[in-house]
Each structure stands twice: as structure tokens, then as C-alpha cells.
């Protein structure tokens, strides 16, 4: 059986790892290259690097970090943040990224998904969606959860997959940073609509949340989290040990 993936996410600004609570109040955590190495040794199945820099200098630092990580760590690396064109895909793939995650860039230009999937293959294109409940439906949000696009999140995810996204990251704004567990309700809705791997994001507060995630939605491919790993609240080897004891297939 294919193992359930545990994926730490590193938000990077000006060359440092940061993680916000509900996307705000950024806190400095650690050196990204060191943190990536630590995660790889402790059994992370994949790493996500999210570039939240806006400046040119910050972007250069980000690609330098990516190159350093990809030269020494041999697990899959996904890169997101500021991906608006095929040139952006090229820039991060050339530095060792394996997959590229699109979010607002694909909302502004949905054809980006089709073009990237044609050029680099479906497996390379990850659709990342920040979704939040609005009047009984799920809306796609932008700018770290501050701007409501009014787009229906489930319809957008379906469209993105039809256009060629090979994987979907579903980040629930409602549960992100709250540490009360993943948004199982939202994830179930997404999982029922697509056949590509779905990655759950937003809400992990402890080991039990991952157990619940994979037991409640067995088709789900992976769980992604940031702060609980960065601050050492959950150690990946312990998490995987518990998952295995609970009958979830993981890579030890």
C-alpha cells in the first residue's frame, strides 16, 4: 500500500522560516536549510517550501535556499508562493523543486494550470486552495485568508483538476492555526469530487488529529502542518509510530 504522507510546510520570508497563527502574527522559527535537514532525518515524507517574500532580494534568497536544500536532501520538494507564470515554474524547477504549487496565480489565470501540466506533466502541478465557509458554502480566499473571491471552492478544485493539476492541497481557513483538528467536513467534500491525491492542511494540533484524519477519510493521501512540527509539539517519528499502531500505513 502507498503510505500516508506527513508533510511539514516551511513558510519562508527573507530567508527565514516563519509561521503565522491564522496567517497573521508571523514568528521567526529557524534556518530553513537546517530545519529541512532535520525533517528529512526524522522521517518527513516530503517538504513544502512556501515563499511569502514580495521583494526581489527575498526571492533570490529563497531560490538559494531551495538550491541548498535540493542538493543535500533527497525527498520530494514542493514549492509554492508567487507562482504566476511558466517562468516562475522554470525558476523553481531549475533549483531542484519537484512539484510546483499554484494558488492565486491560477485563480487570476486558470490557463496556467493547463500550460504547466502540458509542459511539465500533471504530477508537477499542485493546486493549493485556501477555503472558508461562507453562508453554507465554501469560498476560495486569497491573501492568506483575507480576501473572499466569492468563487465556489469545490467547483474551483474540480476545475483545477480537470485542467491538469495532479494533486490538491486543501487548506481550511476555518481550522488553520486553531489546532482543533483538520477540517474533516470540508476535506470529505473535496475527496468525493476528485481522483488525484488530496493533501489536508490547516488545523493539526496533535498526533490524534492525524489519526482521526486518516481513519475518517482513508482515501486521503497526506497531512500537512507547520507550527506543531516547527515548535516540536509533535515529533514526526512519534507521530508515525502512533499512526502505524492505529493501522495507518506509513513509511518508518
Amino acid at each position: 500500500m502507498v503510505a500516508k504522507r506527513i508533510i511539514p510546510c516551511l513558510d519562508i520570508k527573507d530567508g527565514r522560516v516563519v509561521k503565522g497563527v491564522n496567517f497573521l502574527n508571523l514568528q521567526d522559527v529557524s534556518n530553513p536549510v537546517k530545519l529541512a535537514d532535520y525533517y528529512s532525518r526524522s522521517g518527513a515524507d516530503e517538504l513544502v517550501f512556501y515563499d511569502i517574500t514580495a521583494s526581489f532580494e527575498g526571492r533570490k534568497l529563497f531560490t538559494d535556499i531551495l538550491t541548498a536544500v535540493a542538493s543535500t536532501i533527497f525527498i520530494p520538494l514542493t514549492v509554492g508562493g508567487g507562482i504566476n507564470s511558466l517562468e516562475d515554474f522554470e525558476r523553481v524547477l531549475a533549483c531542484g523543486a519537484d512539484k510546483v504549487s499554484v494558488n492565486s496565480g491560477a485563480i487570476q489565470n486558470p490557463d496556467l494550470i493547463d500550460q504547466a501540466a502540458r509542459r511539465y506533466g500533471d504530477q508537477c502541478v499542485v493546486l493549493s486552495v485556501d477555503a472558508k465557509r461562507v453562508d453554507g458554502t465554501y469560498h476560495v480566499f486569497l491573501n492568506g485568508g483575507r480576501a473572499d473571491t466569492s468563487m465556489d471552492a469545490l467547483a474551483w478544485i474540480k476545475e483545477g483538476v480537470d485542467r491538469g493539476a495532479g494533486e490538491v492541497v486543501v487548506n481550511s481557513i476555518d481550522t488553520d492555526g486553531v489546532k482543533g483538528g483538520f477540517d474533516l467536513e470540508m476535506l470529505r467534500e473535496v475527496q468525493a469530487r476528485v481522483r488525484v491525491p488530496v493533501i489536508a492542511s490547516g488545523g493539526a494540533g496533535g498526533v490524534q488529529d492525524f489519526v482521526d484524519l486518516f481513519r475518517e477519510i482513508p482515501e486521503l493521501s497526506a497531512g500537512l502542518a507547520a507550527s506543531i512540527f516547527h515548535f516540536g509539539e509533535v515529533a514526526i517519528p512519534d507521530l508515525k509510530q502512533v499512526l502505524r499502531e492505529k493501522g495507518v500505513c506509513v513509511r518508518l
Partner: protein
Amino acid sequence: MIAIVDYGVGNLFSLKSSLHAIGQETRVTRDLAELDRADHIILPGVGAFGDAVRKLRDTGMFQAVLDQAARGKPILGICLGMQLLFEKSFEYGEHRGLGLIQGEVRDIRTVIPGNLAVPHMGWNGLRFPADRARSPLFAGLEEGEHVYFVHSFAGVGCGAQCIAAAEYGAELTAAVQNGNVCGTQFHPEKSGETGLKILKNFCGWEGRA
């Protein structure tokens, strides 16, 4: 020296880095003399089969790989590079492959049950055939060790040339070998320590089954 066949597809950053990490010198090349000099040859590949075969032919690498294989040089195809070793593929049409491995490449949806995610993406355990000796490629590995897969097409019908399988609703071909020619559907360069071990095994192999 390890020659990585350059036919204009794929991102070779990780492959080169991982080979450097195990102390190997690499050359990304389409130069026939250099392929000749290489101790081992790796055929990489991502993307679509038909496109890759066309590029292999356009660069003269189709025949070059066949020639090197005939001389007994150890060759490793990775992911699409493994699929290219097969006789033919049904990815968007029908395309002839290198024919170094028996069997063909088919849409994974025709092989696995309908409820499973496609691509087959993630870490899966290797199963080695119980009725045959372990391939030198997997020396020192435990049964069930996980390696990283990403693919939507799968090699089928390779019979005893299948040297490892992975379970994903069906037995998928994870690796193949025919004499000095072998291939992995998974990415050893993305499979952590296990992957590095496999690359090391390949680089230390003289090509005898």
C-alpha cells in the same frame, strides 16, 4: 563516470545531486564517445512517452542506448526512462519503445481499481519476487522498504523481468531487469537513504544479472 543521457527532457538537478552525494562523477551528455567512456548510463525521463521517444530519435540517443546495451554496459532507466525500455506504450496513441524489456506501458487506470487516486504518488513498499534471486540493484534492502513513486502509466507484461513490485490495488511493476539493462518506476533520487542505496548498488554493478 556515470553518463546521464541528455535528450532534452526532464529536470536533472536531483539526479545529479544524489549521484554526487554518493561520490559519483556525472556527465549529462549526448556525445557518443562520452557514452562509450562511461562506466554506467542512466536514462532519465519525465513527461509523455511519445514525445520522449521522438526526442531520443532526434538526438540520436535511441540507437546510442541500444548500442550501449548491446555492449553489456549497465543501463538504468528511471520513471519514464524505465518505461522507454519497454517494447511499446499506449500513452496518447501507440509508440514503439527501445524493446530492451519485454511488455508494454499502459494507463494505470486500466490496471488499478477505480477508487484509487491517479497519479500513483507517494511512498510505497517494494516487494521482491520470492521465486527468484534478488537483483543486485536491491542488495542490502529489506522487503517492504519504501521508495517514492509518481506515475500515471505502468509497465505490464514483463514477466520474469519484473524484479520488484509495489501494491496499489494491483501488483504494479516497480523495477525491471534484463541482463545489464534495468529500470525503476520509482525515483531513487527522491527516495531518501533507500534510494541512495539503490543508486550506489547500480554504480557498483558490472552489469551481470
